[in-house]
Point group: C3
């Protein structure tokens, strides 16, 4: 991305308390200390990266106010309360350049049902399809090739990336951001087996996504068998995540990439699920529970529980187990030695020698 900001503009955006050094050119990029080139802005996220200051080619560096060092020749330090947050502020200013929202209006190639309602401040991109009785709220932005099914309701200032599909009857609150390829409202996976054939259970519920939810590329959220699959306010979902039918996810949860939730499971508020972890169906995961990456949850969890492993154990038990796991070979040898010492022949009788 080509940018051009003066050191003064950057200092102003992020409220720098002071500056030190003599870089005078425009800032033309942003990068980590390790990747930065001349002209780039960078930042010192934590003391861990301090040695990179000696080798970085960045020209302007955000550093904590407490930081004590001279900037190298030709570079400038900007002192801020929190370099990471300062960078967020600058990033937000630049996002408008990276992702310029087109002017309101419906692209001439879009196919919009006459019975659909699109707010005049909304943006509908090329090759979008909006079916009967759907409703697109003020300021919402459908990028190219998005699909909005029958009777879907989308609130204010939502954004649907290219190729997002929101299927019939589903409801989005305000400021919901669905990234490219997300599918909301696929049928729940439910069958009754009769005479050796799996008979589909009709899935006639919907999905309700509340305000400020973000869902990463190609994730899928299934509609309820009846009633609603619900994603609570402020919850953030990463890529390639599967949310089964009738799940109820609370507010401000975090689901990392490739998480899978089986049907009818409830996550209370602030649950965090690590990457590639999963849950069984019909469970309740208590408020603030944390599930480690690749872990499997097969029973309810109490509020604040921390678990790990597949199937899960309490975090401390799991960590202890992982230590002991490495000592098992020695344990077997110790038992061998004990048996020899007391004249027992357990090894043979236990089949260890087979």
């Amino acid at each position: 991305m080509e940018i051009s900001l003066s050191v003064q503009e950057i200092a102003s955006i992020c409220g720098a308390s002071r500056q030190q050094g003599h870089f005078t050119g425009p800032v033309t990029g942003i990068a980590s200390l390790a990747q930065a080139k001349a002209g780039d802005l960078s930042f010192l996220a934590s003391g861990k990266y301090r040695r990179q200051l000696e080798t970085t080619e960045a020209s302007v560096i955000l550093v904590p106010e407490t930081f004590e060092a001279e900037p190298p020749e030709g570079k400038t330090f900007l002192f801020v309360a929190n370099p990471s947050r300062a960078l967020m502020q600058i990033g937000r200013r630049l996002e408008a350049q990276l992702w310029p929202k087109p002017p309101p209006g419906i692209h001439p190639t879009a196919v919009v049902s006459p019975s659909a309602s699109v707010d005049p401040t909304a943006v509908v991109g090329p090759f979008c399809v909006i079916e009967a009785d759907a409703c697109i709220g003020p300021g919402s932005w459908l990028e190219a090739q998005a699909f909005v099914g029958r009777a879907v309701r989308i609130g204010r200032d939502c954004r649907l990336g290219p190729g997002v599909r929101v299927l019939a009857e589903c409801i989005l609150g305000d400021r919901v951001y669905l990234h490219a390829g997300v599918v909301v409202g696929g049928d729940g996976f439910g069958y009754e087996t009769d005479a050796g054939r799996h008979e589909k259970i009709p899935q006639i519920g919907n999905v309700v996504i509340r305000d400020d939810v973000e869902v990463g590329p190609n994730s899928t959220i299934d509609r309820a068998r009846m009633g609603s699959t619900i994603i609570g306010e402020g919850t953030k979902i990463d890529n390639l995540v599967q949310v089964g039918h009738n799940c109820i996810i609370g507010r401000h949860c975090i689901l990392c990439a490739q998480v899978g939730l089986a049907g009818s499971t409830t996550l209370e508020d602030y649950v965090v699920m690590g990457g590639q972890s999963g849950t069984g169906g019909h469970l309740t995961i208590g408020k603030g529970a944390m599930v480690g990456g690749q872990s499997g949850v097969h029973t309810d969890l109490e509020a604040g529980a921390k678990v790990r492993a597949s199937p899960m154990m309490p975090l401390l038990a799991a960590n202890r187990y992982y230590v002991l796991r490495e000592k098992l070979p020695a344990l077997f040898r110790r038992v061998d030695a004990l048996e020899a010492a007391v004249g027992l022949s357990g090894k043979a009788s236990s089949g260890r020698q087979k």
Copy 2:
């Protein structure tokens, strides 16, 4: 979804043997006992939920014929042989409302090759692409933005959700339902490494999907290196599942979300794979085998085998192992005590104290 059915209509659809209670209004929704509002139909799936009858706001409730209780004031019980199946019958009646199939015909925006053949009773939605020599059978429905590649053959009464891609040469039987975002016929993942570079092995086979298969959103099924990747009749595949090239999946299998099958593996009929489980390549999983969630299968499985864990163990062995896993800390202490009792110094020599 807005519905309006009288109690009499519902009783008729599901063949209720009798009714009890005095709800007289229209039924305007369907929901679980816990989520239902006034006006909703609900059902008592099992005795487990019986206490919810006291608090539910549902107005009409399907209950088993053997059920003995008075409906609360203003509510009606409908007695049926199997409440869950009765609800399926009602759901099927309502699906036509939720998913109204458009009248036959090709949307004017669709791009259809002159050499493709589309049955006059088929539906082709906006922005669909149908390439040369493809064939779409009677009653099949391509929703918006679907892609059908060269020489693909699609049977009767299939349904392709929005954005489904069926690539060149692949074949679908009858009543196949591919949900939004499914990709059928991506290249198998095969390379030969020559002088440090991975040289692509041409993947010139196809995918054959037999009758009554359903595949969930964003799942992917790769084409064969040569010959066919085959999905057997009646098999049901959930979301975000990966089926590798040259897999042969039998009839009436169940693959839960995020399952992954490496190439050239055979699943015989009625295999069930739990969520996030996977198999190695070139294996045979016997008829009716059951693989637990998050498990990994690395050898052939006999018919009827039940396995769990990564890598898998027989189910009973895995369950026993999970119990012993929690007793390991105590076992280490017991061996410490034994060594102390017999005067052995195993702890030190085994490195336990490091």
Copy 3:
């Protein structure tokens, strides 16, 4: 796929040193020994499949030059240095039939920004969208419904399958093949939590994919927070893989299906990750390291390391552990016996009897 090649043509394509047998018809298909029908070409990949020669219906079979046996009546053997490679050569010749590249040009339905640059030798399929300032290089092929965002640069002879999305600012080298449904450049998953709400960290970097990379259907590669997520030359990525923001993947790596890499992790050259395996964030996986299927990597790995299990152990330790895991029940019994022999009551005191 319908093909028609004479035995002589096939012998010529793959440089057969000699032939034996009397099949005279045209070769009309290619299949494995087990699946082949009369008229098909097949091959003997290894001695393991030798017995299939007795029952195969294939008419022409590629065999190693050292192979000694008579072809059955009516069949022909073609002797080649490497049957698997010979088949690759024939497959490559046939690919042009299976995947005929359309003539250069932009389909009339495509929406291409006036400020985008499309080389006259490139192919742009129906319903593609190419946004402002994007650049499509010579010979590159965008299949139907692909999306190329603002300022994206795509090199020579790339191929984007149907429905691929390459989002703003991302860069592809030459001969990159992204399969259907791939999303390149979704936002990295990063938030700062403030007063109980997850505040989005702007993701203003991009993705850079170098020459000869292939990415399987529906995989997702996130853009960097700043700087670039990088996929090195010649790396091959299977289906439904997640690459987190700011990952740096080296050259000629192999990522099997459903792998997940958390943010800011570096893979050096020639790393191999088995299916459904994953890594934590901010790690370095050394050159040529091999990670087993379903394994979890939580620390840096040295060059050449081989690991397995979740969380990972060195491969040999993991394999030993999996053997001991099965002997645990016997070990508990052996300790019981030892305690009985020396008069200790460890079982009770350790809680084993609860």
